[in-house]
Symmetry: C2
Subunit: 110 residues, 2 copies
DNA sequence: GGCGGTCATTCCGAAACAGCATTGGACGCC
DNA sequence: GGCGTCCAATGCTGTTTCGGAATGACCGCC
């Protein structure tokens, strides 16, 4: 038996061991800006870690999300598909936070 | 009052600086198990970090999500509201991964 | 009063992360 | 064709974050 966590005995939510909201945010920024460096500034980050975010995401998904051109990054079809989901995920998180605050407020503050 | 990075100069996706998919996963596990320790085992984790995840989430949301009883953790209304969103978020992530793999496969594998 | 079970806290070592400096590739210019 | 420019990728290092063992605090039970 493997010694690592690869037992797969549990059927939790599959792996999202690596996909993080930070990576998703980074992906969206790069997709919208078309440049890693510019997206980095928008996120108050520097270029190298942002570049690594994208690489990690692509590695996790097993597919290239962007085409590297000499003008920057262009979305590939897989990237465009992911972008739709990515936006929805962040919107869901936003909604979750908002909802909880609303519920809490109505219960504590009337 | 908190003097954090409340500049809000950028109107990105607001803050989700702290809310992470790991925390959401932890929250769901605790909500379903009703015990931090048991949820920890299910996640192949130990109790202290999991306890911290919940505390961090509650801190981030500004509200208690669970009622601490001597028998474990019981969901408060705010927690129940968050649970619905939490499940949807993870499902969205799952769908995103699935979709991207599908798109990539159809483009590379024919 | 001792015991078992629960979550919260403290401390420490390891892994992850961001940033700096640099490299490598592609194109335009002269 | 060599050189400078613009872009992303990589090596390396300091810092931060994170997980885990041990411990504390609380409560019911016997």
């Amino acid at each position: 038996m493997t010694a690592g966590p690869a037992c797969t005995g549990r059927r939790e939510h599959a792996r999202l061991r690596s996909v993080s909201l930070t990576h998703i945010q980074s992906f969206i920024a790069v997709a919208e800006e078309g440049h890693v460096g510019r997206a980095a500034r928008r996120l108050h980050l520097t270029q190298p870690p942002l570049s690594r975010h994208i690489l990690a995401l692509e590695d996790e998904l097993g597919t290239r999300l962007f085409e590297r051109t000499r003008n920057g990054m262009r979305l590939l079809p897989a990237g465009e598909a992911f972008l739709l989901h990515a936006r929805r995920i962040l919107a869901e998180v936003d909604a979750a936070v908002h909802t909880v605050r609303g519920v809490a407020g109505s219960h504590t503050g009337g």
